[in-house]
Symmetry: C2
Subunit: 198 residues, 2 copies
């Protein structure tokens, strides 16, 4: 028996998503067959409108519904400080932590193994932005704390520090609720190096 | 900052899928932002057309692109034997194993804990079909071999056996490539009970 084309089409679309294999794709498709048509239309239209109703911010490269994005357009934010993040999802996470400055979204990290160099992410745009805007007096490097994130942070630090801007890096140490017994060596080392007055 | 409506809409749609939580939904949504618009349209239209371009077969309850479905309409199949399965995905699996008879898709299994009784799945339709069609001389119960599948098989057996139809159950034993050392007790017991001439 041939699987109906409509089922195959949707299955193949799901399969293109990261972390979804052929079996899961098929399971999701058959699950959706039991859902009302208006739920499918809502889902389908959300997909079709995703890019139409969003824009990449010309200032900070965040993805917003307007350009400049909601953060850059907000008059109440601290305009003297920029947090550099890898992805818009990292920005959302920092927003939840009540950061009230501006952002710069790199859309990736330097990763030579995957052929992603400094020119493939929005580093040049950050440097230009800092050159144009003399109000910025601190750049917080809030890239991930893995190898690629650290390499990216180091690269940006070397690039912008000569211009006399204060460059900081988010603290690396024990996460809240962590057990010292189970912490890895590098985290513990960083945690000792970064110790503060108590 | 408020997350753009378009991103939130799609994220919420993904979240409704089984096994996809808020974090994965967000990750998938941001992943799709980096995809071309025509890929999104293809995906969206596949969702919108899923139910429009499929039909539930009036004979076997399989989901096909025509009614009766491709299996029931195929003149070359063995019309004397019916395999009873829980879902259309099980049917696809049996097709891959080259089963050439007909099917009956129950769309579920009896599961009292989830309030699914015999009347909630297509058991009545199976009995009616067997009553109408006197060519059927064997019904293979190919429900899953877990608790719900076994209960469903037992229920159907008791219901249709008095009518004089031969009822069989798929063999339960060691899967091919299995290690006896690691097999669970019930599987091993079934495997011994069902042993065959060698």
């Amino acid at each position: 028996m041939k699987i109906p084309k409509a089922i195959q089409n949707l299955s193949e679309s799901f399969e293109k998503l990261p972390g979804i294999g052929p079996k899961t794709a098929q399971r999701l498709t058959f699950y959706l067959l039991h859902n009302p048509q208006d739920m499918l239309e809502q889902f389908g239209n959300a997909l079709i409108n995703l890019k139409k109703e969003t824009a990449i911010c010309s200032i900070c490269k965040n993805i917003g519904s307007i350009n400049p994005c909601e953060v850059c357009a907000d008059e109440n934010r601290n305009k003297n400080i920029i947090a550099v993040v890898e992805t818009p999802m990292d920005l959302v996470a920092l927003e939840r932590a009540n950061f009230d400055g501006l952002y710069h979204v790199l859309h990736g990290a330097i990763n030579p193994l995957n052929n992603i160099g400094p020119e493939d992410i929005f580093i040049k745009e950050l440097v230009e932005r800092l050159g144009r805007n003399t109000n910025i007096n601190e750049v917080i490097l809030a890239t991930n704390t893995g190898m690629e994130g650290e390499a990216t942070a180091m690269y940006i630090k070397r690039l912008i520090e000569p211009a006399g801007i204060k460059v900081t890096r988010i603290a690396r140490g024990m996460p809240v609720g962590g057990d010292i017994e189970y912490a890895d060596n590098t985290t513990l080392k960083r945690s000792l190096e970064g110790r503060g007055e108590y």
